[in-house]
């Protein structure tokens, strides 16, 4: 049976065409074709949603006639979501792709424009989902931009020109940008250079704007006793003990003067991008994929999102091919957080032929989750606590997964392994895990757990990663990782491989990493004294965290000295790379070496070409011994 549901212009008319039907081996192709006008007065949400909800998950294709479709939240399906590395938020969607199998959504070149706090694609508990041939944008962005037009060193002020694209209010000398269904204050900010459409050189000396200072008066707060650990970084505690430091005044319509900034005053001609306070400003990622095996995005452009381009959690086998994060409408910023982010994913994560430009956080961040042992309940059960507020609601695994018990002061590797029998979700911060095996004697409150079954193999190939805030690739997986044929020009590290425990509780080490045939162009240009590639741990100890890392046949064309920094590595090869000085920017750290090596062993440099300006190529600590650059 081939069934085609065709809604053509007149969006109530449904025509069902039954062409032919045959026996047990019949091919089912339930193809739904939706078509809407291109007028802004239309709202595609109710009809797309109705047809998806009415499909009973029994469709294989949703096709859109090429056009511009507007999606409003007012009649969307709402769901309260704990989204990893985002806010906990009530979102609206027209695409609740829940419990679907083998579904392709084909935009056929359409543009989907979203309004307000929506998640365009909410994919959950599904298998083999493909989204292709479409572009995603927001009518009003979740960030705002202002052109620096004047600076007054004497009075320590600078002036911003704000266009009509960014409606604003000033309330008690504070600046608020007002959007459809949303508003934000200055909050997190960074400078863009419109000439390069990239993060401004040395922006760390100028931004973030120093919006916050210590509050003038706090009384009797010590009378408040918390029975359990709590997270002062969480939004509900964020204002404690703090108050606004900056204040603004409107000089004339669209021209706002900013007073009391504590860093260097931004240069005239740069664009200040602002996205509101951390903890409140990630409310609408373009794709959210959870507990799904098989997700593919092909030929998809994400021009904006109030959060990440894609956040995938507890999913497997995800491929993004020609998945492009690029700004639209002359904006400096594309997505306001990472281009892509994968938490607790397994199988393969493949990023191929993608452009990740101008987003306000990493191009890709791939890691697991540490959870904190809060209490040992009996011989088989522990209570665990989520360490970071943006991990609230995250369930670390499924029955039969192997959980590692970790005490980072002793080792980055687990001291024991257990198999999950059951996880009881009680609240966003606290869950109870039952294991098949008895708990080890030594387990104690404060130990961490990680899911050893939930790390992916990673392959990043032929991607353009540039002009964004923060890192390029932030990768923490002990599985095989290949990073090849990419172009990087990032304001922080191009590639950061961490063991991170104390802030974000993002788990994972690295083994068998191959970084080859990439070009690194003027990375780390925002002012940090760090390498273009770094392997580093939060914890200051001599335990080994990383194994078998190879960086070969890459081009590093850098304005400054630092190329690679490693720590806690066993087995590092740096082979056949070419290093040159680009001269693009003045050097910030002319005395820095090209390489630093700490608490590492089996480190080899071979067949490299150095044309940079470092006076000392490699600095090693005592334990790593002398290493020769070849």
């Amino acid at each position: 049976m081939v069934k085609t549901i065709l809604v053509n212009r007149q969006w109530i008319v449904w025509i069902m065409l039954v062409f032919f039907q045959y026996g047990c081996s019949k091919t089912i192709d339930n193809s739904m074709i939706l078509s809407f006008g291109t007028e802004i007065s239309d709202d595609a949400t109710p009809d797309v949603l109705a047809q998806i909800l009415n499909s009973n998950q029994n469709i294989s294709k949703i096709k859109f006639e090429k056009g511009i479709y507007h999606f409003y939240p007012d009649k969307g399906l709402e769901e309260y979501c704990h989204i990893s590395n985002h806010c906990d938020v009530m979102v609206s969607t027209a695409f609740p792709i829940k419990n679907f199998k083998n579904l392709t959504i084909d935009g056929q070149g359409s543009t989907f424009i979203f309004h307000g706090i929506m998640v365009p694609f909410l994919v959950q508990a599904s298998h083999n989902i493909t989204v292709k041939n479409l572009s995603i944008d927001w009518y009003n962005p979740f960030h705002s931009e202002g052109l620096i037009v004047a600076r007054d060193e004497k009075n320590r002020t600078f002036d911003m020109q704000i266009s009509e694209a960014y409606p604003y209010e000033i309330r008690n000398h504070q600046l608020y940008f007002v959007k459809e269904y949303y508003e934000h204050n200055i909050g997190q900010s960074i400078l863009y250079d419109p000439q390069r459409s990239a993060i401004a050189f040395n922006t760390e000396a100028y931004t973030n704007l120093t919006t916050i200072k210590k509050a003038e008066t706090s009384r009797y707060l010590s009378n408040i006793k918390y029975k359990y650990d709590f997270d002062f970084r969480a939004p509900e505690y964020k204002k404690l003990g703090k108050e606004d430091r900056l204040f603004v005044e409107e000089i004339k319509k669209g021209l706002v003067r900013v007073h009391n900034h504590g860093k260097l005053l931004p240069q005239v001609g740069l664009i200040l991008t602002m996205k509101g306070e951390q903890g409140f400003n990630r409310v609408a990622p373009a794709f959210r994929v959870t507990t799904t095996d098989g997700f593919n995005a092909q030929n998809v452009n994400v021009h904006h999102a109030g959060g990440m381009g894609i956040i995938a959690e507890n999913s497997a086998n995800l491929t993004l091919d020609n998945f492009n994060i690029t700004p639209s409408k002359g904006r400096m910023v594309s997505t306001t957080a990472d281009a892509t982010h994968f938490v607790g994913c397994r199988g393969k994560v493949i990023l191929r032929n993608c452009t990740f430009n101008n987003q306000l956080d990493d191009a890709a961040n791939i890691h697991g989750t540490y959870q904190i042992v809060e209490d040992v309940l009996d011989e088989y059960r522990i209570g665990v606590r989520m360490g970071h507020h943006q991990q609230k609601g995250f369930v670390i695994g499924v029955p039969s997964d192997t959980i590692g018990l970790v005490r980072l002061s002793d080792s980055f590797d687990p001291y024991d392994q257990l198999t999950v029998k059951d996880i009881q979700y009680l609240n966003g911060r606290y869950q109870i895990i039952t294991f098949h095996q008895k708990l080890p004697q030594g387990i104690q409150k404060g130990d961490l757990i990680e899911n050893l079954s939930a790390y992916p193999e990673v392959w990043v190939q032929n991607c353009n990663i540039a002009n964004n805030r923060a890192r390029g690739l932030l990768i923490s997986t002990p599985k095989k990782t290949i990073i090849e044929d990419n172009y990087f020009s990032t304001e922080m590290e191009a590639i950061l491989i961490p063991v991170e425990s104390s802030h974000w509780y993002e788990s994972g080490s690295a083994s068998n990493v191959l970084i080859q045939n990439n070009t690194f162009q003027d990375c780390q240009h925002s002012g940090y004294k760090r390498g273009v590639i770094r392997l580093d741990t939060d914890d200051d100890n001599t335990n080994l965290a990383f194994r078998n890392i190879e960086i070969s046949n890459n081009i590093f064309n850098q304005f400054d000295n630092m190329i690679v920094q490693i720590a806690n590595v066993d087995g590092f090869k740096f082979i056949g790379n070419t290093i040159s000085n680009s001269g693009t920017f003045p050097q910030l750290f002319p005395d820095a070496p090209a390489f630093t090596v700490d608490v590492s062993k089996n480190v080899v440099f071979e067949n490299n070409t150095y044309g940079g300006k470092a006076k000392q190529l490699i600095v090693t600590d005592e334990s790593s011994g002398d290493i020769e650059f070849k």
Copy 2:
């Protein structure tokens, strides 16, 4: 089988005693007895919750050994709740009473002390639930109190002494009270007279404090287009166009000076109670009961809640007997919102032998819900929109319920009735209702719907309603209502019977109301020129809204003139009542009449005794004609 689960002091030990077992006619008495120490270091939540979750709804009693039990949210069961007339909020509970039948929770005289944003009892989809013999309080209240110690007419400031019970911060000259897991600013405020432990006389001249004014600058906001109606009163839009007007400074530790108040300066010796901004300050009612048939609370004291004492929605047959709302620890305030509130309830609502004192809103508010016809989708289906943000998520009925279609400009009575087939919940503001019958031709966007099957009979008997902000009883049901043998001393109306449509969207008229043998003592003392009892409609028209109202054999001992105001009534009897002047306060409106009658008919006054001071007893409009007081 009688099964007793006994956890005695040592709260891990479970002893199961099986006494006897017999055949099909066996009596099942699954009795769970919990016991905890009285130390604050204990947290009763994990164990109470575990035993309730593990019970599989197969218990008939939960008993608590008499003691003081502390409940913390950290290990509670979390649920995101749209709670009617409260905020939309993630709450934690140790008592998820969901899908239980014939369950009694007996505190045996215990006190339960809650910490943070918890709902002590979350009762849902259950039958015949009884909670008895316990007291509820919060360790940190959701409101704060300050003693007025000075006023300076010249500089227009007043000073507040804030005790250590109310930790605070001053941030950018704004006052914030910090609690466990919560904070609030001044927001809604009202004066209490500590001599009377009641709302201060004429407080409307002094409070609310004038916290807000128009923002100084708004630019380009007209560029923001909303496709659909939206609610500017909702929390997400609340700050638009506004800024703080008041500012404060700390004179010395615990002494805070308030500047720029726009009403009269509060008098020295009174206590200012503050609970934060409307729309953000109702997060933790003591009881939430939804879709439950049969709920009884007996011998229950609620000393505080960050919201209502009880909010019941879509439930039937609720009896509160000796259910008392009273403040503790010398606080002026008990619950920060209504003592009791019933929305869309049916069967009988009985309030008997209760004390409703010192809460910051009505003693009881009983009504249905109007929802707005947003769109007519086909012959059988409409989309409806919730008019008020505190109705988000409210589902108006169940299949087979009779829905009235209302156009208030034509009549307070429905112009047609339809039967619910199905309600599709899409989001907090929007649902799709399918009816068994075809929609009437004339139905149009903007019409209202109400559920005619979801109004209760009401009986309020022998209650003490006093010292609270706002009204005593606010009752909107066309079913039989008896209000007898109560004592009222409220700062606004003792009894308000409204048809209310344009602000709160609380539906319901009134028929067959008997108000007898009550005492009304100095009601309406906060400054409004209104009757002690009022029947009134929002809509300025001559349609009849109320029928067969009798007020008989009551005592009105009032400091001021106005006793009863009625409008839109057909059939009103005022018989055998005794009215005197108490002399408690100076008269605020000495020229006001005792009674006003507008657009009403069949109005009778008989056998009353008037000992008040009004120069004119009854003022009527033209349509109601002359009415004689007898």
